[in-house]
């Protein structure tokens, strides 16, 4: 009797399991993707663009019926947290994403120091992590799950200043200013290295605390050396705009650069048209410019229609990052991060940037840097005009 009951029970349990299995296969699964970023404060423009870029791609995938990976179809759900550009807040937010929300992919983060904080959690837990942070140490052989989805100072500074030297030979003395943190230090280091190698005189290699509003004191010191060009290197839009505005008030009339200038439209709003006039940005993308592909133009139009603003390089980068990772999942036939990782190193991906390669081994010791052609833009009469297109040296090798 006992045996019969047991067999009957097992049979029922087996039927139930089969039924349940059938149901799971038929229904869509959910893939939760995490996003970190400064969504408030002086660097909020970065976080907002990350979020919007991700939303655009995710909505596109979900509306098309979901992401087909192997036999499964996933609806993608986005969970985002504001870390206010602070490392401590980032650690808390990353812990939430990894252990509470159980994400295996964090697509999007900005501000160098916060990346290091997040990586202390993502790497040991094999969580795939992409960012637009500019810290040199963010990419390394001991951080195999980390990718930079936007060109950084190491890809941009040298070709940018080579262009300056060739096209504006009167510029000899350059003053550089960045926030006093990892991304700021790394950016100034790359810019100063490029300037020195190209024969420029660096009159100031200066730093300020994030959140600073009054730049008169530091500018007084910097402008006393009478530089021909002022580079607000890694300053975020809000602070870069204030620096340029206050430099103009203090009588500066020289050339202006913004090596990390991801969206020149934002600097015009803060600095005003007069102070922003002539700013060169090598990190940007002008979605309305002549150099962009039809894919970027289409993305720009859809973004502007949805959010009422023109997207910058961060929005495009994060849109492309989600594209690359979802393509890699499909090619791997799995959402397992190790299987996806195996695909990422070998392939070129067709994205909004065009054919995108992943390289950077010469600089970082590992191929984890997204590589694509970039545009140097200039602010003219309140508009952003493309002045040159440059191919990063690492991309030429690919």
């Amino acid at each position: 009797m006992t045996m019969r009951r047991s067999i009957g029970g097992l049979a029922l349990a087996g039927l139930a399991a089969l039924a349940a299995g059938g149901t799971v296969q038929a229904a869509d699964k959910t893939l939760t993707i995490g996003l970190l970023g400064p969504l408030s404060g002086g660097a909020a423009a970065y976080g907002v663009e990350l979020l919007r870029g991700a939303e655009m791609k995710i909505d596109e995938i979900n509306k098309a019926g979901g992401l087909k990976v192997g036999p499964d179809t996933y609806q993608i759900k986005l969970v985002s947290y504001d870390h206010k550009a602070q490392a401590a807040d980032t650690a808390t937010a990353t812990n939430k994403l990894v252990f509470q929300d159980k994400v295996k992919y964090i697509i999007g983060n900005a501000v160098g120091a916060t990346c290091n904080a997040a990586q202390t959690i993502t790497e040991p837990n094999k969580v795939m992590f992409t960012f637009v942070c500019w810290g040199t140490s963010n990419l390394a052989p001991e951080k195999p799950y980390s990718f930079r989805s936007m060109l950084s100072q190491w890809e941009l500074a040298e070709p940018f200043y080579r262009w300056v030297k060739e096209n504006h030979p009167k510029i000899k003395k350059v003053a550089v200013i960045s926030p006093n943190d990892t991304s700021g230090k790394d950016t100034n280091t790359a810019v100063v290295k490029a300037l020195t190698a190209l024969g420029f005189e660096v009159t100031a290699d200066e730093y300020y605390e994030r959140g600073t509003k009054d730049f008169y004191p530091v500018l007084t010191k910097m402008l006393a050396a009478k530089p021909d060009m002022l580079d607000v290197a890694a300053a975020p839009p809000g602070e870069a705009g204030l620096i340029l505005k206050q430099a103009m008030e203090l009588g500066f009339k020289g050339a202006k650069g913004w090596t990390a200038g991801i969206n020149p439209f934002t600097i015009i709003g803060v600095a005003g048209r007069e102070a922003a006039e002539g700013v060169w940005s090598p990190a940007t993308i002008n979605v309305k410019g002549d150099h962009v592909s039809p894919a970027v133009r289409k993305f720009g139009e859809a973004y502007e229609k949805r959010y009422g603003e023109v997207p910058g390089a961060i929005a495009v980068s994060n849109y492309a990052a989600l594209d690359v990772f979802t393509q890699a999942m499909q090619k791997a036939g799995s959402i397992d991060t190790d299987k996806v990782l195996a695909v990422l190193g070998k392939e070129h991906f067709d994205t909004v940037w065009g054919s995108l390669a992943i390289g950077g081994k010469d600089t970082y010791g590992i191929d984890r840097q997204f590589l694509y052609p970039f545009v140097i833009s200039e602010v003219r009469g309140g508009k952003v005009v493309d002045v040159a297109q440059v191919i990063p040296a690492a991309l030429k090798k690919k």
Binding site: V48, Y216, P217, K221
Partner: protein
Amino acid sequence: MPIEVLVQALLNGFGLAVVYILVALGLTLIFSILEIINFAHGEFYMLGGFVTYYAFAVGGLNYFATLLLAVLAVGLAGAVCERLVFRHLRGKTLNAFIVSLGLLWVLQASAQLSFGVLDKSVPSAVSGIVRMGPLIVSRERVLVMATAAALIAGLYAFLRFARTGQAMRAAAQDGDAAALQGVNIELVSALGFAIGCALAGAAGALLAPVFAVSPTMGALPVVKAFIIIIVGGMGSLPGAVLGGLLLGAVEGVGTLFMSSAAVSILGFLMVIAILLVRPRGLFGAA
């Protein structure tokens, strides 16, 4: 270091210090009458900034009319806060301290929800620069300095000569004695709180076009204001003015010789030195 760079640095330091003195005066006025340390004071500065953004930048109202509107609106917000929250906590310094911290977060989060988190740019009320030999200052900052100095002088005259101002000083010196002389302590307290907040609102309105406005913009000026009133002496108006000018000079000149990170701790070093040598501050009552 050329002398003109040194003088320019001092000018830069004093230029903003005058505005931070306004914030500090409001803080010290509230403390002297209600014995409340209002940590949410920076949020009234922020409200002044947003009134300016919406009235001047968005609504196109005249700048000086906007300034008046900011003073009145933030003063009214202060009076409401005093009536609803702080009136019940007069003299209970610790309780009021904790409540003001809570108010800080409530106001800041409300601003984030209402106004968004991104910095908002306010166009300059006046453009151009003023040259005095090798020294340069923007017309905008001259306007800010002159208006702030006028407000400081106006507050001093009000407290010294106006009957209500004298009642406030009496309440600050000894509330019970003032009440026995017929001073309406509740009215004076409400008015003191409202004027203190209005001063912060004026400072926010003055600096909105110079910087940008954001829900977190109140954090920096309130820290500066605390440094100023600790150096100058809690409750002392001349002390706040002197403390502000001292902080402006130290920070302005300090930047010429050290990094901005090092300069940001100079004010706190000043506070530690003053507290060790003269715990009540330069002009504080014993």
